[in-house]
């Protein structure tokens, strides 16, 4: 098999071998249902609560405030729909941003159909939410503000603490989609006045199909998945113990290695950004230059289209992603790139490269060389490019 340079860690990550090792006994040996009374079940319950405590620690929260879900999308759906349901007698207005993940945006659209009103606050050209617009959007009927911690496409980190303070000041609940941020940047739910927070295991070298929602004690959110009494009666379904154990170990690992790992990633990321901007003409960086996720670089190359670029990169063993229409189920260009002001045709030619701790300078050099020739080739084919 040819060597693969995997630069799509914002899409998903490799499950760390030590995470898999930790999960294994819970498949075939300690497979008991955590809601049972016998020893085998207790073993599961203890393992689960250990993971809960690890995660709570990572956020400055308490174990009983962590609720396991099937991933980021479920956490986002839960946070929005079930908060709206619980607080609808207080008001029907929700504030979010224009650059949220679809798990938030499509949920908001659904809520609009149920009679809720949603304000989608603008971002500036770096993808930072406009705080003055956010403040202006607040109404007496506003029950929830949901703004992502860091954007999945352009990597921009939001002023979460300021948003939390605004929410607190107005007595409004604050949810943040931290699927991209958890494990990558330090987060403290008290300092940032976060009432709810979504995260997903597979973004931090944990398993797929597991995530959590942090719910501050006292928040009266309803259930989203109704049924059994699991998760303190708030989220039904037999607990995914191997997944939960894996998420716990992945969290421990991500937190322990965060400083060193992200320092290295930032160095490589900046090297990549600097060289690409200097060596490839008609190129721009998307997202905030410094206030971005340690591993995220996002470029727009004029005159070319994303999918073709991705296929060519793949032929060289490089995995990247694009805000391009063609890669997702939808054909529209990325709403995030449009929100930061890119015209359609430029939004189409964007490339997101997201690093991991395994990426070396040699990898980056290789990628830059390949990228240069791919872009040259595609431009020579493009009816938009005349030089």
């Amino acid at each position: 098999m040819k060597k693969i340079i995997y630069l799509d860690n914002a899409a998903t990550t490799k499950t760390a071998p030590e995470v898999v090792d930790a999960m294994l006994p819970y498949f075939t040996e300690f497979y008991g249902n955590a809601s049972t009374i016998y020893d085998l079940g207790n073993h599961s319950k203890n393992a689960m609560n250990e993971a809960r405590d690890i995660i709570a620690d990572a956020l400055g929260a308490r174990g009983e405030e962590i609720y396991f879900t099937a991933g980021g999308s479920e956490s986002d759906n839960w946070a929005l729909k079930a908060t709206a349901e619980a607080y609808k007698s207080k008001g029907n207005h929700i504030i979010t941003s224009k650059i949220e993940h679809h798990a938030i945006l499509h949920t908001c659209e659904w809520l609009e159909k149920q009679g809720f009103e949603v304000t989608y606050v603008d971002v500036d050209e770096n993808g930072v939410i406009k705080l003055n617009e956010l403040k202006k959007a607040i109404r007496p009927t506003t029950i929830l503000i949901s703004v992502m911690f860091a954007n999945n496409e352009i990597g921009t980190i939001q002023p979460i603490k300021e948003i939390g303070e605004i929410a607190k000041e107005h007595g409004i609940l604050f949810h943040t989609d931290a699927v991209q941020a958890f494990g990558q940047v330090p987060i403290n739910v008290d300092e940032c006045h976060i009432d709810m927070l979504s995260a997903s295991g597979h973004k931090l070298n944990g398993p797929k199909g597991i995530g959590f929602l942090y719910i501050r004690k006292g928040v009266k959110i309803r259930s989203f998945v109704h049924g059994g009494a699991q998760e303190r009666k708030r989220r039904a379904g037999t607990e995914n113990i191997p997944g939960i154990v894996g998420l716990g170990v992945a969290t421990k690992r991500a937190i322990a290695s965060m400083q060193e790992r992200t320092a290295k990633e930032i160095e490589l990321r900046d090297y990549l950004i600097d060289r690409v901007l200097k060596e490839i003409p008609y190129t721009r960086l998307n997202g905030h230059r410094t206030n971005r996720l340690p591993n995220n670089a996002n470029f727009s190359f004029q005159f070319i289209e994303g999918e073709s670029m991705l296929i060519m990169l793949d032929m060289d063993g490089i995995c990247g992603s694009s805000g391009s229409a063609c890669t997702s189920g939808s054909l529209d260009p990325s709403h995030v790139l449009l929100a930061i002001g890119l015209p359609h045709e430029i939004a189409h030619g964007s490339l997101r490269l997201t690093l991991s701790e395994e990426i070396t300078k040699e990898d980056i050099d290789f990628v830059i060389e390949k990228l240069k020739s791919i872009i040259e080739r595609l431009r020579s084919m493009s009816p938009l490019y005349e030089d």
Partner: protein, 145 residues
């Protein structure tokens, strides 16, 4: 997701480029995905397409269908070229994923646009050819869930 033939035409696209003083040039775009295709035709006095070149700003399927379409129309008469529909191009490529069917329409329309341009320049009327749209978006509705 793509067939081997698509990948082959994507990796080694035939007839990329421009034709200077082409008999007909057509550019079409697809607002839905923002992609653009330009087709150049060199048509001799007997109405036979001697050469055909393209430039495409678009996805892998757009590149491959452009390439295949140029191959299919080369050497054909104008009337035969009109039979190079998007279906014919897709078949020649061993199919496309459903979400990519519209990309092949881009190729069909680009040929039509280039022929229209040729007809206008030569003040002739081509049987069965109507003025091509600039934007070939089908406007098909997506299922809502």
């Amino acid at each position: 997701m793509y067939s081997e033939k698509v990948m082959d035409h994507f990796q080694h696209p035939r007839n990329v480029g421009e034709i200077e003083n082409a008999s007909g040039v057509g550019t079409v775009g697809n607002a839905k995905c923002g992609d653009i295709m330009r087709m150049y035709l060199d048509i001799d006095d007997n109405g036979v397409i001697q050469d055909c070149k393209f430039k495409t700003f678009g996805c892998g399927a757009a590149v491959a269908t452009s390439s295949m379409a140029t191959e299919l129309v080369k050497g054909k008469t104008i009337q035969q070229a009109l039979e190079v529909t998007n279906k014919a191009v897709m078949e020649a490529l061993d199919g496309l994923p459903p979400v990519k069917v519209h990309c092949s329409l881009l190729a069909e329309e680009a040929i039509h646009a280039a022929l229209w341009d040729y007809a206008e320049k030569h003040h002739i009327k081509i049987e069965g050819l109507s003025k091509p749209k600039n934007d070939i978006s089908e406007g098909e509705e997506e299922d809502e869930y």
